[in-house]
């Protein structure tokens, strides 16, 4: 095996790219932790509406949550396909993951548009400010993930994503699953646990 195929290992025996990416995910935990903390600290303290109880669409968001969960399944199946050198299913599952990510973004764009139509903007009240910053930041991460997956899909289509490149897909997968777990938390604390009086 060539040096390039072995990877960039440290004295820990672990790939440096993987260590670096887990460290990045740790920093992302702090970012989203701060945004969630801000949302929860100001929840129910808006002096004018619309409030979460009036505006959040649980059935719609439940479907988009399901879409994101299934994209995580597609991502692990894509990694498994790349690892066994199955080019056809690598492309199928990478395209499925990116496609489901795009569908999730579509749901979010629809939700944001609906909220603006109903009078909730980022400057309307504390709920609007904290909600749009938190979910918007998550949406931006999903967008980056979709672009990343699209680049992997192009590489796969060109035959440049063999088993020796599996670590690249594994790292993209780590990012994608992290986006998923952040949404798991957001769906619960923002959408399902709605605190404070309805206006």
């Amino acid at each position: 095996m060539s040096t390039a195929a072995i990877g960039h290992y440290t004295s820990t025996g672990q790939d440096t790219r993987k260590i670096a990416f887990w460290t990045f995910i740790g920093s992302e935990c702090m970012l989203f932790g701060t945004l969630i903390a801000t949302y929860l600290s100001y929840e129910g303290k808006s002096v004018i509406g619309p409030t979460p109880q009036e505006i959040l669409n649980i059935p719609l968001t439940s479907v988009s949550t399901f879409v994101l969960l299934m994209s995580s399944l597609a991502m692990v199946l894509a990694l498994a396909a790349v690892m066994r050198g199955d080019t056809r299913y690598s492309k199928v599952w990478l395209a499925t993951t990116a496609g489901l990510g795009a569908v999730f973004l579509g749901f979010q764009a629809f939700e944001f548009t609906q909220f603006v139509d109903e009078g909730l903007k980022i400057s309307t009240n504390l709920f609007g400010s904290t909600f749009f910053v938190l979910t918007g930041c998550h949406g931006l991460h999903v967008l980056v993930g979709v672009i990343w997956l699209a680049t992997l899909l192009i590489l796969s289509a060109r035959g440049k994503l063999g088993p020796e490149k599996a670590m690249n897909v594994e790292i993209a997968g780590l990012y994608w699953h992290f986006i998923d777990v952040v949404w798991i938390v957001i769906f619960t604390v923002v959408y399902l646990i709605q605190r404070g009086p309805a206006a």
């Binding site: 095996m1 072995i6 990877g7 290992y9 004295s11 820990t12 025996g13 672990q14 993987k18 260590i19 887990w22 460290t23 995910i25 740790g26 920093s27 935990c29 702090m30 989203f32 932790g33 701060t34 969630i36 903390a37 801000t38 929860l40 600290s41 100001y42 929840e43 129910g44 303290k45 649980i58 439940s62 949550t65 399901f66 969960l69 299934m70 995580s72 399944l73 991502m75 692990v76 199946l77 990694l79 498994a80 690892m83 594994e170 997968g173 780590l174 699953h177 992290f178 998923d180 777990v181 798991i184 938390v185 769906f187 619960t188 604390v189 399902l192 646990i193 605190r195």
Partner: protein, 103 residues
């Protein structure tokens, strides 16, 4: 460290395990949404702890099996868990400081 150790592939779960995890995640999400719509639970002190517990279960399943923390090196678990605990502490501290515990 020998090259033999370096080249050892990590033991990722099988497709069957991945599908089982997806089914469990879907089932938990359905339960969460169902609980949200039960009038006897909604608006009570029980709702938040139950939903947080279910959410933590989903979080753990994705991290352990899809992100492969379970079969991977404990180093990654440490790198991930330390800031996660710190983030949780920030949430609890900020909520306490701003008196945001009233449900």
């Amino acid at each position: 460290m020998s090259q033999e150790v370096l080249e050892k592939p990590s033991a990722h779960p099988s497709a069957k395990v991945y599908l089982s995890i997806a089914a469990i995640l879907t089932a938990i999400t359905v339960v969460e949404v169902a609980i949200f719509y039960i009038p006897a639970i909604r608006g009570t002190m029980v709702l938040a702890p139950v939903l947080l517990l279910l959410s933590a279960g989903k979080f753990a399943l994705v991290v352990m099996f899809y992100m492969h923390l379970k079969p991977d090196s404990k180093l990654f678990t440490a790198i991930f868990t330390a800031p996660l605990v710190l983030a949780a502490a920030v949430i609890l501290a900020l909520m306490t400081l701003l008196g945001a515990w009233v449900l």
